[in-house]
C-alpha cells in the first residue's frame, strides 16, 4: 500500500481509517486520533479537573483503543467504543483516589446512595439561579462521587444522550436518567453550601470593617 501523503490524512473517512489502522498504518492512527482527541480530552479534563491527569488519561485511553483496534468489528459506533474506554479509564483513576473498604454486602456504587439528595426538596435555601457560575459548578462537580460525575459530565456538559450513556457506562437508560437527576440534586446542595459560605464570609468581612467593639 502506498504511503499516504500528510495532506491526505484529513480526507480519510473514519471507516477507512479504522480499516487501515487495523493494518498498522501510521497515518490512519493519526487520523483517528485527530477525529476524536478533543472530545476525549474534554471528557477527561471535565471529569478530573486537572490538566496533567487529563493528558495522561487521554493518552491511556487512545493507547488502549489502538491496542485493541484489531478486535473492532463495527458492532457499535467507534466513537461510543472509544468514549467507553475513556470513561472506564477515568473512573478507575477516580476510584483509586477514593478507595472504599469492601464488604460482603457491597452493592453497586454504595457511596452514591449514602448521603445522597435529601428527601425534603427545595428547602428554605438560597435560590441558585443567580449563583451558578462555571467556576463554582466545576468545584461542585469535582466533589461528586465518580458515578454521578460521569453521568453529569457526559450528559449535561458533553451532550451525550441517555442511550449513548447507557452503552458507555453499561447501564440501563432508566439508570442513566436517575443518576443524572441525583447528580444534579447533589450539585444543587453543594452549590447552596458554597453560596452560604460566601454569604457568611461577606457578613464577617462587613462586621470586621465596621469596627467590631461594643
Amino acid at each position: 500500500m502506498a504511503r499516504t501523503r500528510p495532506t491526505e490524512i484529513r480526507e480519510l473517512g473514519e471507516a477507512e481509517a479504522i480499516r487501515r489502522a487495523q493494518q498498522g498504518d501510521a497515518e490512519a492512527f493519526e487520523r483517528l486520533y485527530r477525529l476524536h482527541n478533543r472530545r476525549v480530552y474534554a471528557l477527561c479534563l471535565r471529569m478530573l479537573g486537572n490538566t496533567a491527569e487529563a493528558e495522561d488519561l487521554t493518552q491511556e485511553a487512545f493507547l488502549q483503543l489502538f491496542r485493541k483496534i484489531g478486535t473492532f468489528r463495527g458492532e457499535s459506533a467507534f466513537s461510543t467504543w472509544l468514549h467507553r474506554l475513556a470513561v472506564n479509564v477515568v473512573l478507575m483513576r477516580l476510584r483509586k483516589k477514593t478507595l472504599a473498604a469492601t464488604s460482603l454486602e457491597e452493592v453497586t456504587e454504595p457511596d452514591e446512595d449514602v448521603g445522597g439528595p435529601r428527601k425534603d426538596i427545595g428547602g428554605p435555601d438560597l435560590r441558585l439561579s443567580g449563583s451558578v457560575d462555571r467556576v463554582n459548578l466545576e468545584r461542585a462537580v469535582e466533589q461528586l462521587p465518580p458515578g454521578y460525575r460521569s453521568v453529569f459530565v457526559l450528559h449535561d456538559v458533553q451532550g451525550y444522550e441517555h442511550n449513548e450513556i447507557a452503552t458507555i457506562m453499561n447501564c440501563s437508560i432508566g439508570n442513566s436518567k436517575s443518576q443524572l437527576h441525583k447528580a444534579r440534586m447533589r450539585l444543587r446542595e453543594l452549590l447552596q453550601e458554597f453560596a452560604r459560605d460566601r454569604a457568611r464570609e461577606e457578613r464577617q468581612a462587613a462586621k470586621g470593617s465596621s469596627g467590631g467593639s461594643h
Binding site: 469492601t102 456504587e109 453499561n170
Partner: protein, 291 residues
Amino acid sequence: MKGRVGSVVCLRLSGTALVALFLAASVHAQVRRFERHFTVQGKPVVTVQNATGRIQVRAWDKQEVMIVGQRGSTNVEVDTEQAGNRIEIATRVISDNANPDALRADYDISVPAESELQVRSDSGNVTVDSVHGDMSFDTVAADLALQDVEGYLVVKSIGGSTICTRCSGRLDATSISGDFKLLQPTMDNVRVQTSSGNIFFDGSFMNRGIYVLKNYSGTIEVRFSSTDSFDVRATSLYGNVINQAPVVPDRHSMPAPRSGLAKSLFGTMNDGRAKVELSSFSGTIKISKRE
C-alpha cells in the same frame, strides 16, 4: 491399674487436645477463607493480581462476579474493589519475611460468560474456562490453561507455558522459555514468539488468517489436513525444516529468503488463503499431516 487409668486419662487428654487443635485449625481456615459477590451488568472487566497461588476463572449464567478464595496466612490481604462494571482483585503482601506458602492466595472466580479479564500472576497456575471477551495475561512462572475462550488474547510470559484448547479469536503471545500449545483453535490471527520454548499448533488455518510462529531453539510444529489452504514461509537459520505438506513452490511471489545460510520452505497449499510464517534460529520446524 493405676498405669492403665493413667494411660486412659492420657489418651482422653490427647484426644481432647487433638479435637481442640482441629477446631482451631477449622476456625483458622475459615478466617482465611473469603468470599465476595459483586453485581454487574453487561460485560464486566475483571482484573486479578496475585503473586503466588492458583487462579481459576469460570463462566456462569449470573450477572454477578463471585470470588471465593483462600489466603495462605495473615501475611497477605485481599483487596477487592468495584467501579461500575470493573472489578479489581489484588493480593497484597503485608509481611514479606514469610515462607512462600504463607504468601499464597488461591482464587476461584465465577464471571458472566461475556467478560473481559486481565490477570497478572507470578507463580501459580491460571485456568480460564468458557469466558468470552478480551483477555490479557502477564505471568512470570505461572502456567496458563485456556479452554473454550473467545476474544483477543494477549499473553506475556517469562517462563510459564500456555495451552489453549478450542480457543477462538486472536492471540498475541510471547515468552522466553515457555511452551505454547494451541489445540483445535479457530483463530484468524495468531502471533506466538518464544525463545527456548516449543510451539505446537494443531488446528484450522482460517481464510485470510495470519499465523506467525517464531522461536530461537526448540521445535515449532504445525499440523495440517488436506483441505487446509495456506501460503507457508518456513525458515530456520541453523536448524531444519521438515515438511509433509504438498506445497507448490512460490505461487504468490513471496519474498526470497534473506539469508543464504537458512533452511527454507516457501510454498502454497491449495489456494493459499491463509498466511503461515514459521521461523526459528536453530530449532526444528515441522509441518506435519494430521492423522
